[in-house]
Symmetry: C4
Subunit: 217 residues, 4 copies
Amino acid sequence: MNDAIIELHNEATPATAVSPLALRLAKIGRGFYKRGWNLGTSGNFSAVVNRDPLQLLITASGLDKGALSAESFLHLDESGNVIAGHGRPSAESSLHLAIVKRRKAQAVLHTHTVWSAILSEAYGDSGGFFIEGFEMLKGLEGVNTHQHHEWLPIIENSQDYDALSQQVEMMLQQQPNIHGFLLRRHGLYTWGVDVEAAKRHVEIFEFLFEVLGRTHH
Amino acid sequence: MNDAIIELHNEATPATAVSPLALRLAKIGRGFYKRGWNLGTSGNFSAVVNRDPLQLLITASGLDKGALSAESFLHLDESGNVIAGHGRPSAESSLHLAIVKRRKAQAVLHTHTVWSAILSEAYGDSGGFFIEGFEMLKGLEGVNTHQHHEWLPIIENSQDYDALSQQVEMMLQQQPNIHGFLLRRHGLYTWGVDVEAAKRHVEIFEFLFEVLGRTHH
Amino acid sequence: MNDAIIELHNEATPATAVSPLALRLAKIGRGFYKRGWNLGTSGNFSAVVNRDPLQLLITASGLDKGALSAESFLHLDESGNVIAGHGRPSAESSLHLAIVKRRKAQAVLHTHTVWSAILSEAYGDSGGFFIEGFEMLKGLEGVNTHQHHEWLPIIENSQDYDALSQQVEMMLQQQPNIHGFLLRRHGLYTWGVDVEAAKRHVEIFEFLFEVLGRTHH
Amino acid sequence: MNDAIIELHNEATPATAVSPLALRLAKIGRGFYKRGWNLGTSGNFSAVVNRDPLQLLITASGLDKGALSAESFLHLDESGNVIAGHGRPSAESSLHLAIVKRRKAQAVLHTHTVWSAILSEAYGDSGGFFIEGFEMLKGLEGVNTHQHHEWLPIIENSQDYDALSQQVEMMLQQQPNIHGFLLRRHGLYTWGVDVEAAKRHVEIFEFLFEVLGRTHH
């Protein structure tokens, strides 16, 4: 598949145009937009299309997430260079690459939501918070009981995305059990073994953020 | 109808594919998903297709409720064995079976919502709460006045679904007038004499949960 | 038009099937349902189809407002008798008739919403509340400035709809400038010179209820 | 393009009927209406179609924003006279004209939302408020860091739109870096270098208003 993509790129035809993964990510993104989870062109969605060498399908920067189509995606190599597709990669691509390298993640979804912004500030000085006791937690990969304690780290936001992606890589190594993290006053990053798992994780976290946000704030 | 289903099953064709009941439950489920009432593959929807012997149509485990179709349902016998359809039954099927056995319910709907999670925790130690004085209560089967006192029991959540379903059966016997119950930090179970009545009960409870939640919390 | 309707009725064909008014009310009702303003089969929508003698088109009782069609409506005479259409009239039809008799209203819309339920209880003992100073008030018929003081009366809810409709008639006579009223822990009634004006009034009131509800409660 | 419009107008054909700009504004408006940002016929949307002489496409007064189409727009000249299209211009057209004259704005969007109404009152006596530290701010034109301090002025609402538009013009000259402003208990005005930028600004401000509103109020 990697070869085919490069070939198509050489012919200046965007390889992403016919990708079922891109179609699926686009639909998920439009659904999130309807819920107000990616307003104002915020957020990014990505999926691994090849592991060795690593290739990532990711939303181009600055797009209206309510109008995503298969053409809205770029192919990046493992260094973040564009190898197919039209548009500019987001500065946050390095975070997506860091996650798929450090986790068995095939998809990474990043949202900007009201409740994640509120909680990331409320618990920002503590560096994170636990979510405990909710049945909904069982939807997170590998969690089998509502008695699970999910730690959600919060990282200070920064415009130095190289430093930020290194910090994220380190955190992912040190905390192998987390399913996502927040950037302070910024948003949620979560991932999954496939696109559907990542979508499920977004919905679970956003649901639980709203419950916690309405309970304590 | 029971015979027909078994026959189809023997031919390895899912009997559920053409069921109007499954189509209707799928549409209701997609509508709930739009409202955020079954995010992250949470919740289950079921309907009785045969009474003697008992057969239940129920959502297979782990499905995206925003993408439900007639193929998303299993047929279970009264012991919870799959007799038609593709997929794994939810561990919560035993609760659905307990309800349709103890009530004249033809449909059982289970949602995971923000306000039910909040109220189930706020009133969890009291074992439940009353909803009183709202015109909306008149939409509950057999209720004729807003002055009705609806008791909504809250049961501690558990991963031992056998014990949980026995507890639910006992509660349904002891409290013949309730129209639903909450599992703590988990969600709502309600039912109806048909699918439309069960849908109405979900909407009424969720509406009232939001009113109570915004008033007191 | 009155004659034609009766004729159709004699032939047992529902006159409402082809009514543009019914189609428009049905669409408005489905829109309100999407916003959660008429969950659980709650609410009623009506429009005057003839003034002398009075004939009212009104939603039949107990319908899912998300599935309204032109067939969902009855024709009532001025006494509330069904003269065309299938189904049972709501007990609240008497309120609709009271309003169109006492006001130059051609349409009456009744919603059950979270914020109207909350405000109707918060201000119930005061018998109503003022809404003042919002630009949005200018959308109410005859209001030309945000400095308008809109009084919203609250009436105790009751299952004696004859008494309730008499109370409403008296209130409408005594308070000629109001654009709507609340039934306590029940919902909003508003109306307009045509269906569009009534729809506009619902949206304006519900918007302002949410602003007030979030500000003070 | 200006000539063509006038010619079509002379033939009594609304020039707006085929305008892609009008189609795009109509779709944006219907989307905002779904979110509850322009209920009750509130709000106005405009775009510059010609700079010299200035011509503005703008929603006619009193329209249901959920039913906007290309026919819903008027063409105004720089003095606010209707040069094409059916309907009455809004009294607020003078504000739109003031903005496009004082800014390099090609589009102006005006919404009435719950959170903008609440914040405009909460901070009304201070004349405005800062929004700081949110990643979402980077979506505002020319903002490159979440550490940006965005000042959002609040102007007292008035029915004297001539005075109001002069006040707005003065404010736009004195505060060249703002991306929008609030009218107290009224709503948001924002703009952009094109229609998409203006849409993005609305979404960013409304998102941030909700975060601030839920945090402090």
